[in-house]
Amino acid sequence: MATTDEEVRELIKREYEHGFVTEIESDTFEPGLNEDVIRRLSELKQEPEFMLEWRLKAYRRWLEMEEPEWAHVNYPQVKFDDISYYSAPKRPEDMPQSLDEVDPELLKTYEKLGIPLHERAKLAGVAVDAVFDSVSVVTTFKEPLEKAGVIFCPISEALQKHPELIKKYLGSVVPVADNYYAALNSAVFSDGSFVYIPPGVRCPLELSTYFRINAANTGQFERTLIIADVGSYVSYLEGCTAPMRDENQLHAAVVELVLLDDAQIKYSTVQNWYPGDENGKGGIYNFVTKRAACTGKNSKVSWTQVETGSAITWKYPSCILRGDNSVGEFYSVALTHNYQQADTGTKMIHIGKNTKSTVISKGISAGRSSNAYRGLVKFNPGAEGARNFTQCDSLLIGDRCGAHTFPYIESKNKSAIVEHEATTSKVSDEQMFLCRQRGIEPEQAVSMIVNGFCKEVFKELPMEFAVEAGKLLEVSLEGSVG
């Protein structure tokens, strides 16, 4: 009879189910990056002059910067000149005005991904912006949103229609030279979503963006900017997939959230970029900067993420709690398998009085993967009465993986209180025995126990996403119980 551990290692493998390539015609830049490429990109998108200047400034700063090395990940150097910085599905001169005008191949792609672009979207009541390679291909539900005064459109469109908002807020949370990949993104970002919720408005729909990298040898550099004006609320969902390709692809996104007084943003991510095969070949390098500025009093931001994809993840959704009584939350499930590497966590910067933050992080490592939580909780001298609670738990499946915790806690205020707890353990033999004694298959038992381990995070996800996340975890774990 096999031991539990052996059985846990025996689960059959299932291939990445979003790994197909869509055969559509694309306009793709030749690989390489220089100022001309940036000028062409900006021209192609008919951007205002200030935007080109902004990009060039970012590019020049990027040239002076060094690739960060502090993360607990290993990968060969990215060859930035082998990457194409723009790829867009070919299409009629004008943007599609409705779904009927969208390339049917593209729609099929989203259908395969299970993304509710069409009728399903209406039923689900979710407004979707879909970003395919470098451009936003379609945004649904524009009218009801417009009626509420909500702006939800590709950021390239916002640049045309609302340049004053872009000028005011773009880069206000993540400055152009914030870090290496943010600078690169600022120079070359091609599209992404823009959201503005006017004062006092509760966004009538869940907003959602699906990102898809399709073309080979391209990088994806999307930029998301969400502004929640005084007293507004929005829930925003983000999902990502990519085809299976042998080479690594770079994804370097920037997400900026701005919250004014009493505003609230709930930002949920299910990240399922292609993780590479079981030998660690291929997969996405996911180097992302996400940051929320709670500039207003009593504002509240929640980041919820379920990270199962990417060969390498390097991502720290952060909260700058500047407004008094503002609240930051971070709920994360990160699962790594095979040769995946994740270095992820959050930063909670307490500046205002009575600011509060909560960090719940659940890391699951399987195969030969490496999974690290890295977090910073910082109390500035003025953060009177600030509070943080952090719980980081790691679960190990198999004896060839790693689980790490690197929390930085810094306090300069005597009235601030922080509590940090972390545990690392494995699925216990006793739990497995109980499940199996009740007739449950070992792999199903592991999946159930892991889902239970993540429950505190899943309950923060919008309903539809929670179901998706649970399934995703199950699929991602297959082959781990081996």
Partner: protein
């Protein structure tokens, strides 16, 4: 139904069972008594297939099949149920989800289609009432934050739900107050059926006041040293184990 011949088993290189023999037929209720460390719990773990225990000699057949060849979950699906002495907690997994997964695993094995959520909820509520558990328990994590008595009732509730062929109850009476004991005993009595056998493992006689067994066996140093009818339990209660030549204290220290 169950036939154990010359069973030897060890845990972490320590020999616990030393040639145990036992025959159980359908419809019978057997009680195994013995001092601490005599091997009672080991027997239940070995029958259920806990891999921490190693069978070094002997054979066990269940309805004619070699039980020792089967994986833990296969034994469960063949109808062996173990009510744990110390049920483990599984944080975040609701009792309802756990039980439904379990019931459906059994049904699948028997070629019956899955029970849907509504159907299952109805059934689960019924059995939870039978052991006097608030149906709200179904939504809580498996054994998470349950009191000792609640855990034991939860185990019996699962037996009622899964309808096993052989139910092994490992010290299901320990740690219960008299009211809870009564509830648990009623649950076990409800399990009694002509096609079902029950094996109760207990240190004390008091459970046997409520569930009258057909046979009582005394286990000492990994072997059955005496068997008899219900009157044997009463005799043990009156005289202690010393009467059979067992030094209860020494046995306890040993185990």
């Amino acid at each position: 139904m169950l036939s154990i011949k010359n069973l030897h088993a060890s845990v972490e290189d320590k020999q616990i069972l030393n040639g145990l023999n036992l025959e159980i037929k359908a419809g019978e209720v057997h009680a195994i008594m013995g001092p601490n460390g005599s091997g009672k719990s080991t027997l239940s773990q070995v029958l259920a297939g806990n891999e921490a225990f190693e069978v070094t000699e002997g054979e066990v057949t269940f309805n004619g099949d070699n039980l020792l060849d089967l994986a833990t979950e296969e034994r469960a699906r063949e109808g062996i149920f173990l009510a744990f002495q110390y049920p483990v907690e599984i944080p975040g997994v609701s009792n309802l989800q756990f039980l439904r997964t379990s019931v459906n695993a059994m049904r699948k094995h028997n070629g019956i289609e899955d029970m849907n959520a509504a159907e299952f909820m109805k059934l689960a509520k019924e059995v939870s009432k039978q052991v006097d558990l608030d149906p709200a328990f179904l939504k809580r994590g498996v054994n998470e934050g349950f009191s000792g008595g609640e855990k034991k009732r939860n185990e019996i509730m699962q037996a009622l739900l899964l309808k096993p062929k052989l139910a092994i109850l490992d010290e299901t009476d320990s740690g219960l107050d008299i009211d809870a004991l009564k509830v648990v005993a009623d649950g076990v009595n409800a399990l009694r059926a002509p096609d079902r056998a029950i094996l109760m493992i207990t240190h004390y006689q008091r459970l046997l006041d409520h569930i009258v067994p057909d046979y009582v066996h005394v286990l000492s140093e990994g072997k059955i040293i005496k068997s008899g009818g219900p009157e044997l339990a009463l005799e043990l209660e009156a005289k202690g184990y010393g009467w059979l030549g067992i030094d209860d204290q020494a046995a306890a220290n040993h185990g």
